[in-house]
């Protein structure tokens, strides 16, 4: 429903005179001591805060803490057993993502601008927190003085900027991206400048030397930082040269492809086998299949075309029962799908049909490439079952889980809202059974029951099994979110589409689904966050993700250093790493929600 007050009434606050600035005493009276109960609450709350913050910082600073267990094991936490000489592959993967990010930020005009007074106040608030923490926590005298000076500088700088700019501080002038770039730059500068004692195995037990926290990563991080900024500026130039629409489309395809390419290609370093055979099969499918699609897509063929496409589908399904190259089976299935969708998506016009056949050719090329990648042998040799571990594994599980669950979730949502009873029944059954049982049960199923259903010579590596079940699990939740979106679409939309003569498939793909998905974007981001957190459960089924390393490996290390009893430190570090990312996601999702204006239209 439209928010009528916004349309009819002028925004009163906009015209109201600015209240006179309040002093800190008035502020405290208004916000802390406005009644007897409030005063008591304030005192109690302050006591709790002081005890808690003091205790926490005291715990962190206590001399017996083995923080060097974390600093020397950062590589283990991030990428586990990935060989050192191949880490450039990880950096390259990360670089590819960041460059894509920089380009995308430019092409989508991301960011917006913020008010200097907000920035100043945040800075001042941060300074205040720093000053409070050093006072409350058991710092040394010099530590307290330094902390107080830093805090005071930040508070003065923040408030000073606001005071200096006066009225102009209320205009949105500072681009958000600049602030983010400055903060990231400061973090990287800190990597170069800040030194902490790190145990030195060569100097002997108990010896340590000053080093930055992640000494080997300062160079790559700086490079990546510069590359991202360069990519952004490249994007701003490019978006003037090429049409924005084309650029965005290319970027979206790159994003979709980036994940499999990174996981299968960059990080594994694949040696291809049987390229000639695959290329031949692909070429054959592209040409013959293209001709078939071109013919069948013409609506003139009527039911004959659909019937033939249906036969293709039967053929494709049969091919899974007989022995054939997996590539052939996949391409046959894809071909049947394209042929079935032809009349819906291509139609009679020459141009659209040409475009459709080109799309088919592109799909064949991508499929052949991905198949080559996944059947190739990894050149990155590790002692492990797979090359993936640590925080890197967490990301792969989360992204792959979400990516795989998305199509399944949408299909399930459509099934559950369908008018066809058997589809509805099966979808509902799937969704309710999956949702009713906890994820850890499904993960145990993936490890102990799932392999029973496959021939003994087929073995999946653990991450693949677990990813599949995370995807199955997530799909059920995703389906419920999408169903909410589908049900929020007014009936008029589907009726209008029917009146235009659209088929059920066209109506769903072009009218209902896009609107439904747009309406549930915030819920979908929430789902991504939930899955990101849930990947920590794989530690229980024995995968070496960041939690398993922090809990079971670091506290048991005795050579070359003794890190026994460092589990609290390790867990705290893991928690902080998770927190940083989840918190950022949830803030981004809030901003996205505001920008999309979901719920306010």
């Amino acid at each position: 429903m439209a928010d009528k007050s916004k349309i009819i009434l002028p925004d009163i606050e906009e015209y109201a005179p600015e209240p006179p600035p309040k002093g800190p005493v008035v502020w405290a009276k208004d916000n802390l001591f406005y009644s007897i109960a409030s005063t008591i609450l304030t005192v109690v709350g302050a006591a709790i805060a002081i005890v808690f913050v003091g205790g926490m910082v005291g715990f962190i600073l206590a001399p017996e803490r083995k923080w060097e267990a974390i600093t020397t094991n950062l590589r283990l936490l991030m990428i586990q057993a990935y060989p050192q000489e191949a880490t450039w592959r990880i950096w390259l993967s990360l670089g590819a993502v960041l460059v894509l990010l920089g380009l995308s930020l430019a092409f989508w005009h991301a960011g917006g601008k913020t008010e200097p007074r907000k920035v100043g106040r945040s800075l001042a608030g941060f300074g205040g927190v720093v000053a409070l923490v050093v006072v409350v926590a058991p710092f040394s005298i010099s530590g307290r003085v330094i902390g107080l000076v830093v805090g005071a500088v930040m508070v003065t700088a923040g408030l000073g900027v606001v005071r200096l700019l006066g009225e102009r501080a209320k205009e949105s002038t500072i681009p958000t991206l600049v602030i983010i770039a400055i903060v990231a730059g400061l973090v990287i500068a800190a990597l170069w400048v800040l030194k902490v004692p790190i145990p030195d195995p060569e100097a002997g037990a108990g010896q340590s030397r000053l080093q930055s926290i992640a000494a080997t990563t300062t160079g790559p991080w700086t490079l990546l930082y510069l590359a991202t900024i360069a990519a952004y500026f490249l994007g701003t130039v490019l978006r003037r040269v090429i049409p924005e629409r084309t650029g965005r489309l290319a970027l979206m395809v790159s994003w979709a492809l980036s994940f499999p390419v990174i996981v299968l290609h960059l990080s594994r370093g694949v040696e291809f086998h049987g390229v000639g055979q695959y290329a031949l099969v692909g070429l054959g499918f592209a040409i013959v299949g293209g001709a078939i699609i071109w013919t069948l897509a013409d609506p003139v063929r009527g039911e004959l075309g659909r019937g033939l496409a249906g036969l293709l589908l039967v053929l494709a399904i049969v091919s899974w029962a007989v022995s054939a190259l997996i590539l052939v089976r996949l391409l046959l299935l894809l071909l049947a799908m394209f042929a079935l969708g032809g009349p819906t998506f291509a139609g009679g016009a020459r141009e659209t049909r040409t475009r459709y056949v080109l799309l088919w050719a592109g799909a064949v090329v991508i499929t052949v490439y991905l198949m080559l990648l996944s059947t190739g042998v990894s050149v990155v040799a590790t002692s492990n079952e797979t090359v993936f571990g640590g925080f890197f594994l967490t990301w792969i599980l989360a992204i792959a889980g979400i990516a795989l669950s998305f199509p399944l979730g949408v299909v399930l949502a459509l099934g559950r809202t369908s008018t066809m009873p058997i589809f509805r029944l099966l979808s509902t059954l799937y969704i309710e059974v999956i949702r009713g049982v906890p994820l850890i049960t499904w993960l145990l199923v993936s490890v102990v029951v799932f392999p029973i259903f496959f021939p003994l010579d087929v073995s999946f590596v653990a991450p693949v099994k677990v990813t599949l079940f995370i995807a199955f699990f997530s799909a059920a939740y995703l389906a419920e979110n999408v169903r909410g979106g589908l049900q929020s679409i007014s009936k008029g939309q589907t009726e209008a589409a029917s009146a235009l003569g659209m088929t059920t498939l066209q109506r769903t793909v072009f009218i209902t689904l896009p609107q439904a998905l747009r309406a549930v974007i915030p819920a979908l981001v929430g789902q991504v966050i939930a899955i990101f957190k849930d990947t920590s459960l794989v530690a229980i089924v024995g995968l070496f993700d960041i939690l398993k390393i922090g809990r079971d490996i670091i506290p048991t290390q005795t050579q070359p250093f003794n890190f026994l009893g460092s589990m609290r430190e390790a867990l705290l570090a893991v928690a902080i790493i998770y927190w940083i990312f989840t918190f950022t996601f949830s803030r981004l999702s809030l901003r996205l929600e505001e920008k999309l204006g979901v719920g306010t239209r």
């Binding site: 058997i422 049982v437 920590s536």
Partner: protein
């Protein structure tokens, strides 16, 4: 103008929407059936190759392990071990749900407080807890317990409260000899108190004036409970009654129940179809039934028939129900036995004792012992769920129309009165469904106890299948338990939701 309507041509069969839809659906069903059959063949081949046969023997065989905590530490059968695991899961779930509701409500209100520091503490709590995976938190709490002092032989003795690396121990009231007889008094008290409340509330409505209905009903309940505490043995006359009921169920032949249940299943299906057809009836006669409607009726009919066949031809179901009822009333008969004359509740204080062959200092289980695993899991799920509940409560309070608070303030209500009588009752209605969802999440999240060796159903099941290789049956047991639990919980939430719903006109 005359309009001529030519008779509509029937479309050819390959263009008939109904035919096409059903073809697609039946093809999918056929595909699924074929896939399941293929997987089944493959699975049975693999299972044979491993020399395992899945069955129910593991349920009756004694498991070769001890359960760390719960109602039965040395279960004599697999079924009993699973049952002990279920009780442990329920213990954490129920105590967690209660604690998380209280904490979540407090934090949610604090989040809206005008007091800056209270508001900030609530915000920091929510933002910290929500953004760290629950599993990390549970493991963290387990490590935290380990900083409590270890027990040594010098600590032997009784205390009021013990916090040690082996767990916490607090004073507790345990049900004792006469508990069930007293419980009967409590039930009587609750009924009488309800009547008193009803009567006084009616009086207040009829005559006006404050009758303190709530206070009086509580007083009534307390008085009856107090009297019952001393004279509970007089309830012993129920003992023979329950014994009689028990032998009654023992005497019924299972054939009778088989027939009754089968008949009931068919009757229920028929009733459903009749009600469905009644709904379709319009003043102009029966509405046109679509294929979907027909499918529903046939489907329900089929389910009724299958259920009836199951009840009629599998005597084990009826037999099981009868034995269960018999055992239950036998249990009640025993608990109401006239020899049980001691106090209903037993107060115990924590103690440390030497136990085992080596004489290690242990927490005595005479008082309530909270093991590290239970503590970590319970506090983990409680804090985590409370953060989500707090956000829901905040949203619910903010969703109550502003005019309601303004009207309340205009009537001269104080802030706390406003919250108590105007805002919270309305917010409660809004927040109930999402909070119910959080309860379900908490219930499922207790399965993470497996990471801290808390013997819930998942952990016990895992140990069982590691020992016997009966993976498939154990997984089925898990699924049945969690699905049933989710169903019951959502039924309870829905029940309250319906009761609270505004009556729409």
């Amino acid at each position: 103008m005359a309009v001529t309507v030519s008779k509509q041509e029937r479309p050819p069969i390959w263009r008939n929407a109904t035919v096409l839809k059903w073809t697609a659906q039946l093809v999918l069903v056929a595909f699924i059936v074929v896939a399941i059959l293929t997987l089944r063949t493959q699975a049975s081949g693999n299972i044979d190759a491993r020399g395992i046969t899945f069955g129910t023997k593991w349920l009756s065989d004694p498991p070769l392990f001890a359960i760390r905590e719960g109602i039965d530490l040395q279960p004599d059968s697999g079924a009993r071990a699973i049952y002990a695991g279920i009780i442990n899961t329920l213990r954490v779930s129920i105590s967690g749900i209660i604690a998380a509701s209280i904490l979540g409500t407090i934090v949610g209100i604090a989040r809206l407080s005008h007091n800056w520091i209270v508001n900030k503490i609530a915000t920091v709590y929510i933002e910290t807890i929500r953004n760290i995976p629950l599993l990390v938190q549970i493991i963290f709490w387990l490590v935290v317990v380990q900083i409590f002092p270890a027990l040594t032989g010098d600590d032997v003795g009784e205390r009021l409260f013990i916090a040690s690396a082996k767990g916490l121990s607090i004073p507790w009231l345990f049900p004792h000899d006469g508990f069930y007889q007293w419980l009967a008094f409590l039930i009587v008290g609750a009924v009488v108190a309800g009547l008193v409340h009803h009567r006084l509330a009616k009086l207040k409505e009829d005559r006006g004036g404050e009758t303190h209905a709530f206070v009086w009903s509580v007083v009534t309940f307390a008085v009856i409970a107090a009297i019952g505490w001393f004279i509970h043995p007089i309830m012993a006359f129920w003992g023979p009654v329950w014994d009689g009921v028990s032998s009654f169920f023992g005497a019924i032949p299972s054939v009778l129940l088989q027939i009754l249940l089968a008949g009931g299943a068919i009757l229920a299906a028929v009733m459903w179809v009749r009600r469905f057809l009644d709904q379709m009836r319009t003043p102009a006669g029966l509405a046109k039934l679509t294929d979907d409607h027909w499918f529903r009726m046939i489907f329900v009919g089929l389910i009724g028939l299958v259920g009836a066949a199951l009840f009629a031809f599998v005597p084990a179901i009826s037999e099981g129900i009868l034995r269960l009822l018999e055992a239950f009333f036998n249990f009640l008969g025993d608990k109401f036995d006239s020899s049980r004359t001691a106090a209903p509740l037993n107060y115990t204080t924590p103690a440390i004792e030497l136990r085992g062959t080596g004489g290690f200092a242990q927490l005595s289980d005479q008082a309530l012992v909270i093991t590290p695993g239970f503590f970590a899991l319970w506090i983990g799920v409680t804090l985590y769920t409370a953060a989500f509940i707090a956000e829901i409560v905040r949203g619910g309070i903010m969703a109550v129309a502003k005019g309601q608070s303004e009207a309340g303030l205009a009537l001269g209500l104080s802030r706390s009165q406003l919250l108590q009588f105007i805002v919270l009752p309305q917010a409660f209605r809004i927040v109930l469904p999402p909070i119910g969802n959080q309860y379900l999440n908490l219930f499922k999240n207790t399965s993470l106890g497996i990471a801290v060796a808390f013997p819930d159903i998942v952990q016990v099941g895992q140990t069982l299948y590691n020992q016997t290789g009966q993976t498939f049956p154990v997984v089925i047991t898990w699924m049945a338990f969690f699905l049933a639990g989710s169903l019951v919980l959502s039924y309870i939430v829905n029940y309250f939701n319906r009761r609270l719903e505004l009556v729409e006109r």
